[in-house]
Amino acid sequence: MERTEAELIAAVLKGDAASFEPLVQKYSPRVFATARRYARRDSEVEDIAQEVWLKAFSKLQSFRGEAPFEHWLMRMTVRTCYDFLRGHQRNRESSFSELSEPENDWLERFVTQPETLTDNADAAKLLIERVMEKLSPSARLVITLLEIEDRSVKEIAELTGWSVPLVKVRAFRARGEMRKILAKMTKDKYL
């Protein structure tokens, strides 16, 4: 008979580390999907996921079971991703001169024929990825959660551990930071 999550967690807390495996198996896809929003290389994504699970194991005693295990784990995942972003702030100062041909074409079309552009163009995805990489860690996190994942301010506050007013302030600053980067990108290209 398959054991419930609560039973597995109780077994892990009693010292049975093997009971942690079904939890890792069940929730790793979500952890990896989240980590891939913040890290590009496979090795980095795997490092983040590994750190999340090691933290989850060592802090399992703090899980009180009031909310689903998944929520508790996602909070840990988001915070680990934020720590990763803070620790890997390289390449933020590079210029946009090395845009690929499809990216240049997409920008060209945005200027000349914006109505012909579709939302799911690969070039646009590459461009937004470049822009996101240039954002500060807090700006990138808040833009991802608020604008891309479409989460509420309250949800972001719970995930990040920031207060609601702080999320609002950081979201406001993040949008401004993003606009500045976009302005620089277009200036690099057209001036």
């Binding site: 010292g15 580390a17 093997a18 942690f20 495996e21 079904p22 890792v24 198996q25 790793s28 896809p29 979500r30 990896f32 999907a33 891939r36 929003r37 496979d42 795997e46 996921a49 590994q50 699970w53 090691l54 194991f57 945005f110 200027v111 914006p114 552009l117 939302d119 799911n120 163009a121 646009a124 995805k125 461009l127 937004i128 990825e129 822009v131 996101m132 833009i143 604008e147 891309i148 479409d150 949008r175 993003m178 606009r179 976009l182 302005a183 277009t186 057209y190």
Partner: protein, 103 residues
Amino acid sequence: MNIAELQKKLLAAARTEVLDDRVPYAFEKRITALLASRVAPDNMALWVRGLWRAAVSCVAITLLFGAWAVFNPTTTTTTTTDDLSQNFENTLLASVDQSDQAP
């Protein structure tokens, strides 16, 4: 160029990105193996192991001193005046002896 519009378009493109939730092969096994190697040792077992080592050392020292006491030839030739215990007692009780001798 309309930056706000560009921002909107790019964010809309980001929202259409399909999440990649692939997990490397046997990732959960790797995590479990890593955890097993990192699991904190049992405190009780640590104490028991330490106490056993201490007990063995104590027995060894006792046997060593016992053998030394039995086989050391100097102990048999010690005179009463050279006896360490006697000297120690004399020193300790010197003040009492002096007060007894005083008029």
